[in-house]
């Protein structure tokens, strides 16, 4: 294993975050605060409580998931897409670095950033609403799995994309809608039976449900099913990355 290379890539990516601190940390914190103001104060004034939890507290796990998903994807996809775009990828391709090591560096860094971001948003939320975390270890497990899985997913998008539009396409058209419709701001039980069934086809619902369970023991589906879903998605991403490297797809000429 070329540990020096993994470390070099990891440090490079983390340094990029430090340079763009405003964009990568401050912006998400501000937008989270805005969600609290808009959803917490405006809607919360009417809904008050969901299954015994104040509405403001209820939306925290969903908000964190929303940030984790979008940021993991955008960090990892940009991290690998940009060298392809600027041409600096020549160095990675000419280095004694296996693709597995490259993934560890890039995805490791993207996942770390998301983890830091998730923690910051959690802390920000605690300023607005009283939080309780019933199962901290499960919470951390979900946080980790989500960061890693969606960073991998972002890496795949970054490899696949050959222009900026494609880079934005999947996050904008698929991921964000799925998160919003996945029960970030409501419980599936608040929907009509028909829409409840439709929601079950949304993979993000399982993530948010499991994550919320670790806070309040409130869940739309059982925690085991949630864990199973995220693990399945993780395996699918690992499989795809493996296949990409097997075929040299979209990297080498």
């Amino acid at each position: 294993m070329n540990w020096y290379a993994i470390k070099a890539i990891y440090k490079f990516e983390m340094a990029r975050t430090r340079r763009t601190l405003l964009q990568s940390i401050v912006a998400p914190v501000i937008s989270t605060s805005l969600y609290f103001v808009v959803f917490g104060a405006a809607i919360g004034g009417r809904i008050q409580e969901v299954e015994g939890v104040s509405y403001g507290a209820f939306i925290v796990p969903g908000l964190i998931m929303l940030s984790l998903l979008t940021n993991s994807i955008s960090n990892a996809s940009f991290g690998i897409y940009f060298p392809k775009f600027s041409g600096t990828i020549y160095e990675l391709l000419s280095a004694p670095v296996s693709m597995f090591e490259a993934v560890l560096g890039y995805v490791g860094a993207a996942a770390s950033k998301s983890l830091i971001l998730g923690t910051i948003i959690l802390a920000t939320s605690a300023l607005f609403v009283p939080l309780q975390i019933a199962h901290p270890f499960v919470m951390i497990l979900f946080l980790l799995l989500t960061c890693i899985t969606f960073s991998l997913f972002g890496f795949i998008i970054g490899i696949w994309a050959d222009n900026f539009e494609k880079l934005q396409l999947i996050p904008m058209l698929i991921v964000t809608p799925l998160v919003f419709l996945g029960g970030s701001f409501y419980s599936a039980s608040m929907l009509s039976p028909f829409w409840q069934t439709v929601t079950l086809f949304n993979p993000v619902l399982y993530l948010i449900s499991g994550f919320r369970w670790s806070f309040y023991e409130l869940a739309d589906v059982s925690i085991a099913v949630s864990l199973g879903m995220i693990l399945m998605f993780l395996l699918a991403c690992i499989g795809t990355v493996w296949w990409i490297f097997k075929t040299g797809y979209h990297i080498k000429k």
Partner: protein
């Protein structure tokens, strides 16, 4: 027997669109030499280098670096190689020092600040070490790319068109550096489409066009073969015949008798222009204009391709 460091066997590359950029290239590069790959734009120079360095997958054939296969033993071969690409592709907001340190790590070497400092000093970049790359001039960026390629102490250095967009001063410095590296045992492979440049720096020259390596020769040998020049004289009065006293020169007369052309080899014994001009005056041939032409690289290629058939 010469010690081979890079051995290229029947290497072919067909790009995804079906374009054949390399056709059965065979080449042995000797340890410690400077070899120039000379060829016009689109000849396949970058493709050849990129294949050896791992940027392009070969379609056919094999490359060994220090006896190791570039695909099976890619870790071994790539840690021996440094690559300076043709395009000035760098990050923008990184500092000079951090990007060179990054390169060393990427190539699997333990940190060695003293070596990085030596490389940066050697390339006159040490003063700029804390500058962001985006603030560097084109020449500095070129040197930075060289520093990155040298950060992990490669034994083989590829320089793809290193003098593109580089001024005379820097070019001199670069050639001095290349010679120092060669003297320290580094093998250097560079590409260029300037014949003068290959002549100035290389020990051997390989000529490549349309994906084919036409020949590889010691520089002096090649220059002798290719260094044909012509001296063209526009005469004041038409000449009927070339006088017998001038028969030992390779002279040709135009149909109207107004232009006399002398073809000579710039390195050989027949290059004595003064003697020719003296002899011309002696037999009373006067001219109103005189100029020399050198066969262009294009003509040389055409000639070589024809010879290769």
């Amino acid at each position: 027997m010469q010690d081979t460091i890079v051995s290229i066997r029947n290497l072919s590359k067909t790009y995804a669109g079906g374009f054949k950029a390399l056709k059965q290239v065979n080449l042995d590069i000797r340890r410690g030499e400077i070899i120039a790959l000379l060829g016009p734009n689109g000849a396949g120079k970058t493709t050849l280098i990129s294949t050896i360095c791992g940027l392009v997958n070969p379609s056919e054939g094999q490359v060994l670096v220090d006896g190791f296969d570039i695909i099976r033993d890619f870790r071994k071969t790539r840690s021996l190689i440094g690559l300076v690409p043709q395009e000035l592709t760098t990050d923008a907001f990184e500092s000079v020092l951090s990007t060179v340190t990054f390169s060393r790590g990427l190539f699997g070497k333990a940190p060695d600040p003293a070596h990085i400092e030596a490389v940066l000093r050697d390339l006159s970049l040490w003063e700029k070490r804390n500058n962001k790359i985006i603030t560097l001039s084109g020449g500095m960026k070129r040197r930075l790319l060289i520093a990155k390629a040298l950060s992990h102490e490669p034994r083989v250095l590829f320089l793809d068109e290193p003098t593109a967009g580089v001024d005379v001063e820097l070019r001199k410095d670069m050639w001095a550096l290349v010679r120092r590296l060669r003297d320290s045992g580094v093998t250097i492979i560079l590409t260029t489409h300037y014949i003068e440049e290959a002549e100035e720096i290389a020990d051997r020259i390989g000529i490549i066009t349309r994906g084919e390596l036409l020949l590889v020769e010691d520089k002096s040998e090649l220059m002798r073969k290719l260094g044909k020049k012509q001296l063209i004289m526009d005469l004041l009065q038409p000449l009927a015949d070339i006088p017998d006293t001038l028969a030992h020169y390779t002279l040709a007369l135009s149909a109207d008798g107004l232009q006399l052309t002398h073809t000579y080899d710039s390195q050989g014994a027949d290059a004595d222009i003064t003697a020719l001009l003296d002899d011309l005056r002696r037999v009373g041939i006067h001219f109103k204009d005189i100029r020399t032409t050198q066969s262009s690289l294009e003509e040389i290629f055409v000639k070589l391709v024809e010879e290769a058939r």
